[in-house]
């Protein structure tokens, strides 16, 4: 393991550095823009009008507004509910159950179910939103096949139960990722360990709960990390389905951020929201990373 002993590399350092240059510029831009977003959060910059040119520093005013005005805390709560039920309960648990169940079944069933789940995941966000709006509308699939035949008047789900509808749509869309990850994770659990537990008289439930789950704990933490952050900042599906409404029922932080920044034009306040989201996501990530590292 001698370092830098590769003459075709050391002899061409200039070329290599030159090759890295475009990436360095673009990464620099990314860091610069991120820093800029931070800076904006202390200003009253607006999208249009006088304040888009003559903005001024306002200190922590935007951050005070997060807590004193209505909107942010409500959105945070909506986001927490959305993340908890769609990502942690829905996608993760369902994905794991599917991965665990499908391991024992024939390969044809397995591929059919896999393809069905993948279709949701592969579908562009906007198409998924369109599809689910139609499915849950007054004349949609759920009403025509379930509600009306049972003798109830049709329900306009997307208006009356907006948050549950977007939550289910997101479960439908995102379960495949968790499934794939857990599937790969369960493949890494050695067959002998599971067989040994079986010989020792462990029930299927015990085999999963006491043997497989502890082994794949790092994968669970990785999965949680990814899907929590994604769902926390997920925008297109909800925005296209409800735009945050009715009222503010489905206005998650990402939608709130968009509405404040680009509909109302409060770029300064919008940046403060994104900084707050960044902090929340950062804390969550640290929590999951600890879960990931901790050897037990």
């Amino acid at each position: 393991m001698k370092n830098q002993a590769n003459p075709w590399l050391t002899g061409n350092l200039y070329v290599l550095v030159l090759g890295m240059l475009p990436a360095i510029v673009l990464i620099g831009a990314l860091l610069y823009f991120t820093a800029w977003a931070f800076a904006f959060s202390f200003t009253d910059l607006a999208l249009v009008g006088r304040k888009s040119v003559e903005w001024s520093w306002v200190g922590l005013e935007n951050f005070e507004r997060l807590f004193t005005r209505r909107g942010f805390l409500e959105s945070l709560w909506t986001t927490v509910i959305f993340v908890f039920f769609s990502a942690i309960v829905g996608q993760s648990v369902l994905g794991f159950l599917l991965a665990a169940t499908l391991r024992g079944t024939q390969s044809t069933i397995r591929s059919v179910v896999e393809v069905c789940i993948m279709l949701g995941w592969l579908l562009p966000d906007i198409v998924a939103a369109f599809l689910w709006s139609a499915t849950t509308s007054q004349t949609g699939l759920i009403n025509q096949l379930i509600v009306v035949p049972l003798g109830f008047p049709p329900i306009n789900f997307i208006n009356s139960y907006a948050l549950p509808v977007v939550t289910i749509a997101n479960i439908w869309k995102g379960t495949a990722w968790s499934y794939l990850l857990f599937s790969a994770a369960l493949d890494s659990v050695s067959r002998e360990v599971v067989e040994a537990a079986k010989v020792d008289g462990a029930t299927p439930f015990q085999r999963i709960w006491l043997v497989q789950l502890p082994i794949i704990r790092p994968h669970i933490a990785t999965n949680m990390l990814f899907i929590t952050i994604w769902t926390f900042t997920y925008f297109p599906l909800i925005f296209a389905m409800t735009g945050g409404g009715p009222g503010r029922q489905t206005e998650t932080l990402a939608v709130f951020l968009y509405n404040q920044s680009f509909s109302r034009g409060n770029l300064g306040f919008g940046s403060a929201i994104s900084v707050a989201m960044l902090l929340i996501v950062g804390v969550l990530s640290l929590f999951y990373l600890r879960l990931l590292r901790e050897p037990k």
Partner: protein
């Protein structure tokens, strides 16, 4: 291996789930192939491809091309920039490179809406509120992930091969193009298609960058069309949705095996 008794029950439960999972598609397909579509869930009384004809002509056709330009442009630019930086990153012992890459990836997992405001301003100043601007912006946003994946793929190419080639008198360019790139072909394909589908599906950035209807990609076009109240042509919209979804889905099944290894690598290498 597994106990056989519950397998029929599980099979039924799984089949049930699969049916539920694909059931929303029924509406999409029934309407798309029905020239007289009304947006209702019903057995079509007519069958035809008229809707698809509408969905590839005129404005819709232009949006298709816009999407292609954005997606292919982003994917190609990401891969080219990514390769030329990931190879040195993989081979030179730059201190802290892994920590740096992971920091960047974490940074990118933050809400992209946050970086959007500065991106918008920068694009506005430099006159890049157009396709090229979207491509560059998406490349910037993609790059951390692209770099990390490509570096991981390059790491798996044994350095002994490169040494042997060097001894035989190959130049750096030859080593990279004849050995490193062919050997990480699958990985590069995965990264290209990841970026392609990502950019193809992208909605928020083009929504803000595309100021005129001529510049809309399919995602924004579809959103704009079904957001309008009033006379909505459901037949057209459903056919358009299917055409829009097809490349993203098709690419996955084309590259299924590669993709799965790619996912596993991303998820577990943490």
């Amino acid at each position: 291996m597994m106990d056989n008794q519950p397998s029929r029950l599980t099979a039924i439960a799984l089949a049930f789930m699969a049916v539920i999972w694909v059931s929303p598609f029924s509406w999409l397909i029934l309407n798309a192939f029905n020239p007289l579509s009304t947006g209702q869930l019903e057995i079509p009384r007519a069958f035809g491809f008229d809707n698809f004809g509408l969905a590839v002509s005129g404005n819709a056709g232009r949006q298709f091309f816009n999407s292609i330009i954005i997606a292919a442009g982003t994917a190609t630019l990401s891969v080219v920039v990514g390769i030329s930086a990931a190879y040195p990153l993989s081979r030179l012992r730059i201190p802290g490179r892994n920590a740096f890459l992971w920091t960047l990836v974490l940074l990118r997992m933050l809400p992209s809406a946050g970086v959007l405001v500065p991106l918008y301003f920068a694009a506005q100043r430099s006159g890049l509120l157009n396709q090229l601007g979207v491509i560059i912006a998406l490349t910037i946003l993609n790059l951390p992930f692209t770099l990390l994946l490509l570096k991981n793929f390059f790491d798996t190419v044994p350095i002994e091969l490169e040494e042997a080639a060097y001894v035989e008198g190959a130049s750096l360019f030859q080593i990279v193009t004849r050995i490193v790139l062919p050997m990480s072909r699958a990985g590069i394909a995965v990264v290209w298609f990841f970026s392609f589908t990502g950019a193809w599906n992208e909605f928020l950035l083009p929504l803000i960058f595309a100021r005129v209807q001529d510049a809309f990609p399919m995602s924004v076009g579809l959103y704009a069309a079904f957001g309008q109240q009033g006379a909505i042509n459901y037949g057209f919209l459903t056919a358009f949705s299917i055409l829009y979804a097809a490349p993203a889905i098709g690419v996955y099944f084309l590259l299924r095996r590669n993709m799965n290894t790619g996912f596993a690598g991303v998820g577990v290498k943490g």
